[in-house]
Structures are given as structure tokens and as C-alpha cells.
């Protein structure tokens, strides 16, 4: 079967070069604004902008004309380049995820870009931009269904295998229609969180668009109230640290003269601002929903991001509770996802690793219960650290603990920022024991339950020597038993060689 799965080569939407030109013009303004402000001359400004516009348009049109893509049975092929021709092949089998993102300018025009996460690659492939929003969702569906479909030759055409469930809902952001610039909040009635309840998403008129695959379903799991987000970010350790830094900088500028202090105030304000942007703007309207093939995360005040986490690739979970969130009982939930290694850290902000940026404990536990069915990781009895640990952590040693249940191992630590790391037995990659010089004197060791890269860091700190067999030997046995129960997914696509 060599026939392309989709039609022959296609181009991205013809509006793309014009959207890109917007970026060019912005760059031009940024490059020249100093001169404009210092000695304003209208013709210089117009000439510069005109030049940027013309160059940008010509380049944009050319690159649009020469960029074509095609979905083959086992790869996505993107040919691009005006002078240097380039043909990229993205293996569909190695595709870990396809994310639909809407940068602000594109969102005004109802356009979206497709981003690809590839197993083994440390970075995200260049996005396919721009496509109509519904076309982007359709392509995403085709690519992902291809991925989860049985290998070629099995019964049925893969494209038809949609998870058809109750509820005529659609995966498209509710209410966002192509070319609807007035749409700013993608979801109805923000606020109320519905823990664990199956709320069928509203039907979408777009379901009638010809060429669209069978309707998918989307059920909301949790919604983050903007109020929690604002308060939570303002009370987060990072924001308070940058405020303290700014305050110290102001004090320093008063004490030692203006210049030295101001040099510090600027980065401090910048730091605080970036915390606010990452915490509030990027996570605005955060919605977690079940889309059958995984959980979808959607958020963004200007740039709308939507990413899907395949649940069987979740390798570990961490609950973070900063000091000032505890009076409200708020929790942040993050996960390690296999295959999304580099992207989470590089792009910053809301990545697939954050399942809930801030939520009441009740809601977080409801989400946790769906991630690790059958056990209550937060109720796992924790063995406290031995008294010797107080030499390393005079206060925090009381908060160190480790425990295991039938299916998970749980470590806790942190006094100011409390964290609970949860690793399912069948996801444990390896176990590391390490002992520094002082630890040798005090007869304790650190034991790490290692998972794939991500925010989870399950370390049982300062355990007594007698526990080594328990946490290495017996833990590995528990892991081996659990692996036999849960074979898991192959790291390369979903086809398990076993």
C-alpha cells in the first residue's frame, strides 16, 4: 500500500504568508524603534516598514508556494525551501503527539498551527503553519488514528476507527469557529470545577463540516478558575521570591545610589513579570478533558494551546503544595510523560507536564484517582526519616517520608514547598542508591526511584541503611510483578513487540 493516505500534496492556507508578514513587520518595528524615537523622520519610518513588508511578503509567498505536505501511509512528508529544497519525513509510528496551537495573530483569523512531537527527538519539529482550525483538527485526527490503528493489513481502513462514544461532542474548542475573531474565552461559563463528573461537551456546529471524520467525544474533567490562577500565581514561591529580590534591589538603590540599584530592579521586575505571564496569561482558562485517546490540556489568554497526554504514557505524578497555598488547600499536579522529554522544559510555561496548574485538593485528588485507579497515593502510610536526618534538614526532616502500596511508591519531602512524588511500580525505570560523605557517617542513604525525564523526582532522602534491601530488592520485585500485570506500551509507537 503505497498510495498516499490523504490526497496528493497540499499547501498550507494561502493566508499564511500574510500572517507571517505580521511577524516580519513587528520585527522591523522592534529593530528600528530607537531611531524612530530619537530622530523622528516619517519617510525613514515608512521606507523601513515598506522594505520589511515587501521583503517579508515576497519571501513569505515564495516559501508558501514551495512548501507542500502529504500524509503517506507511514509518514508525514513536508517539502519546503526556496533555494535549498528540504524534504522532511516524520514517521507516523514515532509520532508521540500532535498539538494544535493558535498564536494570537493566527487566532484572530481562525487559523492554527500543527506541532509534532516525535519519539527519540529531543526537540519539536517545525510546525505546519497555518491551517484552518477545523482542517488542523482533522489532520490531527487522521495522523493520530493512523498511529493507534492496527498495522496495515488488519481489517478496516484505519481512518474509520474513531472512538465513537455517547455524546455528539467534538474535539474542537467549544464555540471557536474558523474566522471568528471575537472569540476570546474558548469555553462557556468559566469557574465551576466538576471533579470527575462526566460532562459531555456541547455539540458544535462544525460537526457538519464536510470532510470531517466521525465525531469524537470530549468530556471535561476539570476546569481551573481564573481566580485560583491569579491568587495562586501571586502567592507562588517564584513570584514572592522575585518580589523580595525587587524589594532588596530598591533598598540597595536607596542605600548605595541610584545607578547600581536600578540595574537590579529591572531584571527583578522582568522576572516577576515573566512569572505572571507564565502563570496567568498562558494558563488562562485551563481546561482538562478526556478525549478518549488521552487527556487534553487547553489554555491560553492570547495564544491558545491544546495538547493531549496519552494516559498510558504517564510515568509518574507529583503534587506540589507551596507554603502559601496550604491555607487554601491548593495543589499543583504535574506528570512525567514518556516521549515529551525535551519540550516541556524548553518551551517553558504550560507544557504537557502540568495537568492542573492550581486546584483545590479535592479536585486534584479526583484527578489523581483517575490517573492511578484503585489506590489512594496520598493515603499511603509514610515511613518517617530517621532522627539522623535532622543534621541535613533541621526543620524539613520531619516532612521526609517514603511508603508503598500495591501499585505505587510514594515519597514526600519539603517544608516550604511540600511535594508528593508518586511512581507506579510498573513505570519504575531503575533504582539508584547514593551515599555522600556525611551520610556515610550518619549511616543513611538517598534512594531514587527513576522515571523518564520530567518534573517527577521521587527521592527517598536519608533512609537508614537497614532499609536498602526493602527499597532496592523488594521494590524491584514489586516492579517486576507489576510489569507482568501491566505490559505497558512500547516506547516506539503503540505497537508492542511483546
Amino acid at each position: 500500500m503505497t498510495r498516499p493516505l490523504e490526497h496528493d500534496f497540499q499547501r498550507v492556507h494561502p493566508i499564511s504568508p500574510f500572517l507571517r508578514v505580521g511577524v516580519f513587520v513587528l520585527a522591523g518595528i522592534l529593530a528600528t524603534w530607537r531611531q524612530v524615537v530619537e530622530d523622528f523622520e516619517a519617510w525613514v519610518l515608512l521606507l523601513t516598514l515598506g522594505a520589511f513588508l515587501a521583503v517579508g511578503l515576497v519571501y513569505g509567498l515564495l516559501s508558501w508556494w514551495f512548501t507542500r505536505f502529504r500524509i503517506d501511509p507511514d509518514e508525514l512528508r513536508i517539502d519546503s525551501g526556496v533555494l535549498l529544497r528540504r524534504s522532511r519525513r516524520i514517521s507516523i509510528e514515532r509520532l508521540q503527539g500532535v498539538d494544535v496551537r493558535q498564536p494570537f495573530l493566527a487566532r484572530l483569523f481562525g487559523m492554527a498551527e500543527l506541532r509534532f512531537e516525535v519519539a527519540g527527538g529531543s526537540n519539536t519539529e517545525a510546525p505546519l503553519a497555518y491551517l484552518r482550525l477545523d482542517e488542523a483538527h482533522r489532520l490531527r485526527g487522521v495522523l493520530l488514528d493512523r498511529d493507534t490503528a492496527p498495522p496495515a493489513g488488519a481489517a478496516g481502513t484505519p481512518v474509520d476507527e474513531q472512538p465513537v462514544d455517547e455524546g455528539p461532542a467534538d474535539e474542537q474548542p467549544v464555540g471557536v469557529e474558523a474566522g471568528d475573531p471575537a472569540e476570546n474565552t474558548p469555553t462557556p461559563s468559566p469557574g465551576t470545577a466538576v471533579p470527575g463528573a462526566a460532562v459531555p461537551g456541547a455539540a458544535v456546529p462544525g460537526a457538519a463540516v464536510p470532510g470531517r471524520p466521525a465525531p469524537r467525544y470530549e468530556r471535561e474533567i476539570a476546569r481551573v478558575d481564573p481566580g485560583w490562577l491569579v491568587v495562586g500565581t501571586l502567592l507562588s514561591t517564584e513570584f514572592i521570591a522575585s518580589l523580595v529580590f525587587a524589594f532588596l534591589a530598591v533598598v540597595a538603590s536607596v542605600l548605595f545610589g541610584e545607578i547600581a540599584g536600578l540595574a537590579l530592579v529591572f531584571p527583578a521586575v522582568l522576572g516577576a513579570g515573566s512569572v505572571l505571564v507564565r502563570g496567568i496569561v498562558q494558563q488562562w482558562g485551563f481546561v482538562l478533558s478526556d478525549v478518549g485517546s488521552g487527556w487534553r490540556l487547553r489554555s491560553g489568554l492570547f495564544d491558545l494551546r491544546s495538547q493531549t497526554v496519552p494516559l498510558d504514557r504517564v510515568q509518574g505524578i507529583v503534587l506540589v503544595e507551596p507554603l502559601l497555598w496550604r491555607p487554601m488547600g491548593w495543589v499543583k499536579v504535574q506528570v512525567d510523560v514518556a516521549g515529551y522529554a525535551g519540550t516541556a522544559a524548553q518551551q517553558g510555561g504550560p507544557s504537557t507536564s502540568t495537568l492542573l496548574p492550581v486546584a483545590p485538593r479535592q479536585l486534584a485528588l479526583a484527578v489523581l484517582a483517575r490517573l492511578v485507579p484503585g489506590s489512594h497515593p496520598t493515603d499511603v502510610p509514610q515511613r518517617p526519616a530517621p532522627r539522623q536526618a535532622r543534621w541535613f534538614r533541621p526543620v524539613g526532616w520531619r516532612y521526609l517520608g517514603v511508603g508503598f502500596a500495591d501499585d505505587v511508591v510514594v515519597t514526600t519531602r519539603g517544608w516550604v514547598k511540600r511535594r508528593t512524588d508518586i511512581v507506579p511500580h510498573h513505570k519504575t525505570q531503575s533504582i539508584r542508591v547514593s551515599q555522600g560523605l556525611l551520610q556515610r557517617r550518619l549511616r543513611v542513604v538517598d534512594i531514587t526511584f527513576q522515571t523518564t525525564p520530567g518534573p517527577v523526582d521521587a527521592v527517598a532522602k536519608h533512609r537508614p541503611l537497614e532499609e536498602i534491601p526493602e527499597w532496592v530488592w523488594h521494590q524491584l520485585e514489586r516492579a517486576a510483578d507489576a510489569r507482568r500485570l501491566h505490559p505497558g506500551v512500547s516506547p516506539w509507537g503503540t505497537r508492542d513487540p511483546a
Partner: protein
């Protein structure tokens, strides 16, 4: 020698004593040129005589200390093959143990640099989906490295577990 991991009751295979030779060569290749450069610089810039003596004594003393430490480090390396997991221990100041189930293995690397090849040594490294695992065994004879690689690959395939 290593009582820390004794409760596990494992039978540790040592690595080749030639690993000590390799560490000593590397250490000397660092200390000797460094001392020479410093001495030449002090003489050329006509620095104080006591500084010259300090550098010379430190340089000469660093050699035996490094040589002794290299031997300790070699003895700290050890590995144990069990039915389902590979254990690797190492480290003198910070002692570490890594336990990796064979089923978690993604691939095995066998490497040998120029000094290793001259000394008839090779290193086996077992990679999992976690970069933090680093189950690395240096100082194996090429035969042992090949045997370990084949065994790890075979067991890894037989017990392969999904992520």
C-alpha cells in the same frame, strides 16, 4: 570491601585492575603538563622562589595521591548480574548503586577510547528511557564486554517491558 551494599547479598564481579592504569595515565597527563606550565610561567615572570617550591611540591605530591585514589576507585567499581536486574556500584567519596531491570533496557553501548584500546579495555553502558540511570561499567576486557553486551541484549529482548 564495600559493606554498604552488603545487606543485598550480591556477588560482585570486579573490573580489570588495568582500569587503575588508565586513570593513572589520565591523571599524569593532567598533573605533569599543568605543573610544568606553572613552573615555566613563574620562572619567566620571575615570581617569588617560595611560590615555585609550593607549585613543585604540590605537583609532585599530587601524583601519588592521584595514583592511590585511582586504585581505590577501581576497587569501588563492581557489577552483579541477577536473573532480572543488573546492579552496578561505584564511587569512593559518594558511593552509588544503580539497579536496572533488564526489561527496561533500550540499548547497550560498548565503547573503547585510544587509551582503553591500548590497555585492552572496554566500557559497557546500558541505556534506559531515563538519562539519569547511567548504568555504566568501565574497565572490562573486550571479551567480557562482548559477553555482557550479548547477554544484556538477549535478556533485554526476552524481558522487554513497555514504557
Amino acid at each position: 570491601m564495600d559493606r554498604l551494599f552488603a545487606p543485598l547479598g550480591l556477588v560482585w564481579s570486579p573490573v580489570s585492575p588495568r582500569l587503575t592504569t588508565r586513570s593513572r595515565i589520565l591523571w599524569s597527563m593532567f598533573v605533569v603538563p599543568f605543573t610544568v606550565v606553572l613552573v615555566v610561567a613563574i620562572v619567566l615572570l620571575s615570581g617569588p622562589a617560595w611560590l615555585l617550591w609550593v607549585v613543585l611540591v604540590a605537583g609532585v605530591a599530587a601524583l601519588p595521591v592521584g595514583w592511590w585514589y585511582a586504585a581505590r576507585r577501581t576497587r569501588a567499581w563492581g557489577y552483579a548480574e541477577r536473573d532480572e536486574d543488573l546492579y552496578v556500584r561505584h564511587g569512593v567519596l559518594i558511593r552509588q548503586l544503580v539497579a536496572v531491570p533488564y526489561g527496561r533496557m533500550q540499548f547497550v553501548d560498548v565503547t573503547a577510547g585510544p587509551i582503553e584500546r591500548a590497555l585492552d579495555l572496554a566500557q559497557v553502558e546500558m541505556h534506559t528511557a531515563t538519562p539519569g540511570t547511567r548504568a555504566r561499567i568501565p574497565g572490562l576486557t573486550p571479551d567480557e564486554a562482548a559477553r555482557l553486551r550479548d547477554r544484556l541484549t538477549a535478556l533485554g529482548e526476552a524481558q522487554a517491558a513497555g514504557l
